[in-house]
């Protein structure tokens, strides 16, 4: 057999998923998902059971799709799983590090299982353990590590073979706030400095917002939205105005001035109204109307989207 080695296509999108459906016996985990992802740090958000882990397993070629097509780095994971996985790193959700061997031994062994020759495996092991801040502890048994150190060792095994794509499943699980910040910082460096495309699956929107520049939201196996992070947190084009009393009079006065104002605030506050910011500049008109009615004004605020809006 003289088959060409399967290698990532240089121009292929990192992930391309077309009409992907995955059905288990009783549940549909992924439902007609279509998605194309380029390079960057990509957040994959969704509630528990939304299908994040299933998607990751399919991208790794560990689960077959029920229907639809998948290409990771231009390679079909269902056909060339072992070749593809040489270029993909995976950090599972739970701690899966055996306690009785050293980080060096485990990571170097795993590097070879990702296709690296043994000398390169040893060299890169000491490199990545330094990058994740475990250089001093690298010969100590993992059982003596703190949770944060263990998690960083688990990240090291996922990047030891210099993957083109790194899949992280809830990487801050079980970490205390400082461990969490360290991990997020490492993930950001991995994506930006190391130039490895990261897909970060998490149900913690704050983390995603902190490190990701692209976001994929899935819910019940369906794609909710995929867009640049900035698009999710941009201004909404809605102004919230809050007055102590006399809201309805203000709505009437603003409407008379030609401003689209409604007394139906999303948060159910009886003192707030919303003003659409389409075309006209309503700030002076609001000031005039409030002054004329002599209403006690509390605030005028430009509302921003938050990631939470996605799951409302």
């Amino acid at each position: 057999m003289t088959a060409q080695p399967i290698e990532p296509g240089p121009d292929a999108p990192v992930v391309r998923v077309d009409a992907l459906t995955k059905r288990f016996e009783t549940v549909t985990a992924l439902d007609d998902l279509t998605l194309e992802l380029g390079r960057g740090i990509i957040g994959l958000v969704g509630a528990n059971g939304a299908g994040k882990s299933t998607l990751i397993k399919i991208l790794l070629g560990l689960l077959p799709a029920t229907s639809g097509s998948v290409a990771v780095l231009g390679i079909d994971p269902a056909v060339h799983g072992t070749a593809l996985r040489q270029y993909v790193g995976y950090m599972p959700e739970h701690n899966v590090m055996p306690p009785d061997i050293s980080a060096t031994e485990l990571v170097a062994h795993l590097a070879q299982l990702s296709g690296l020759p043994s000398a390169a495996a040893r060299e890169r092991t000491s490199d990545v353990l330094r990058h994740v801040g475990l250089y001093e502890e690298r010969y100590r048994p993992i059982g003596g590590y703190s949770t944060g150190m263990r998690q960083r060792a688990q990240l090291a095994q996922a990047i030891v073979h210099d993957p083109r794509l790194l899949l992280l499943d809830e990487p801050t699980n079980g970490l205390d706030p400082s461990g969490r910040d360290e991990m997020l910082d490492l993930i950001q460096r991995t994506g930006q400095e190391f130039g490895i495309t990261v897909i970060l699956a998490s149900h913690l929107l704050g983390e995603i917002e902190q490190v990701c520049d692209f976001l994929v939201a899935i819910d019940a196996g369906k794609l909710l939205r995929a867009d640049a992070m900035s698009a999710f947190t941009s201004e909404t084009g809605i102004l919230t105005v809050e007055v102590e009393h006399g809201r309805d009079a203000l709505v009437a006065a603003l409407t008379a001035r030609g401003v689209r104002a409604t007394a139906a605030p999303a948060d159910g506050d009886a003192r707030a109204l919303q003003v659409a910011l389409d075309g006209i500049e309503p700030y002076d008109l609001i000031r005039d109307a409030v002054a004329e009615l002599e209403l006690p004004l509390i605030r005028i605020e430009n509302r921003r989207h938050t990631l939470e809006d996605l799951f409302r």
Binding site: Q86, V96, H109, G115, P117, H131, F194
Partner: protein, 294 residues
């Protein structure tokens, strides 16, 4: 190096990625090392060392006994076990070895769910099972082959005509290699199949002893009762008898296993049954790893 301690920055890897075969070989080599306790604590080396050392020592003693007995003119010198009879003498050591090392090979990865990290790499699930089986088989093979090697060296040295001694030993080579491979693989496959069922080391060790030893005791009793009919075929469930029968078949001698001998079942059939059991255990192991959660 200028002795600087600056962060070198992240270095890319542009070297070769050697693929699945390399991954399986790496898994095999790593497993083989741990089977012998290499790279493990001193305590982990004790049992492998005993299991390799004592059979070799026993073989050396037997060679010496044969030499002395021959020189003293004893007629029954042929009764001292040689290549054909060494396995039954040392059988306890491979059994001890697999009972201790098979759970060691599989248990850790199961217990700590480390399998996830293996399966997300350049191997398929069955590759993992096969790599471990090869490693344990080679481990058992070393235990079995060293006594043969000592016997061979001893025989050649003790034969007055060296060429004749070498010729005689060469003639036995197929039987030595064949019996060693079959015994090593079948014993290892059974031990790993049992060990794959639990991540608890102590249970696995006990279960392997049970599977390798208890059927022999039962079969020996049942066949000893001489109930007639099909009762002697119970020997087919006696793994100890099957392996001993296979050893006897390769060397063309009569089995020394009580149950195998008492059953009257031909050694060829016992050998075939040993191979079937080995294949079934391997198949079970592969299917088990195909399905195991990771």
């Amino acid at each position: 190096m200028t002795g600087s301690i600056y962060d070198l920055g992240y270095r890319r890897y542009d070297g070769p990625r050697l693929g699945r075969r390399h991954a399986v070989v790496a898994l095999f080599r790593h497993s083989l090392r741990s089977v012998f306790g290499i790279g493990r604590s001193g305590r982990a080396k004790i049992l492998p060392f005993i299991c390799i050392g004592l059979p070799t020592l026993i073989a050396a003693i037997l060679v010496a006994v044969r030499a002395l007995a021959g020189r003293a003119g004893f007629e029954n010198v042929q009764l001292v076990p040689g290549h054909d009879g060494i396995y039954p003498v040392i059988a306890v050591f491979p059994t001890l070895f697999v009972a201790a090392q098979a759970p060691e090979l599989l248990g850790r990865d199961q217990r700590y769910r480390t399998l996830t990290l293996y399966f997300s790499r350049a191997l398929h699930r069955p590759d993992y099972a096969i790599g471990k089986l090869l490693a344990l088989s080679v481990g058992v093979g070393v235990i079995l082959i060293l006594p043969h090697l000592v016997t061979t060296i001893g025989t050649i040295l003790l034969t007055a005509d060296t060429v004749k001694g070498i010729t005689k030993e060469l003639g036995l080579l197929p039987a030595v290699v064949g019996s060693t491979v079959v015994i090593a693989v079948v014993t290892s496959a059974i031990a790993l199949a049992v060990a794959s069922l639990t991540s608890r080391r102590a249970y696995a060790t006990a279960a392997i002893f049970g599977v390798l030893i208890i059927p022999d005791i039962v079969a020996t009793v049942v066949i000893g009762l001489d109930l007639g009919g099909v009762s002697q075929w119970v020997v087919l469930f006696d793994i100890g008898a099957l392996i001993d029968g296979a050893n006897a078949w390769f060397f063309g001698v009569i089995t020394t296993n009580q149950a195998a001998f008492g059953s009257g079942v031909p050694a060829g059939i016992l050998t075939l049954a040993a191979l079937v059991v080995g294949a079934a255990a391997t198949g079970f192991l592969v299917v088990r790893y195909q399905r195991i959660a990771a």
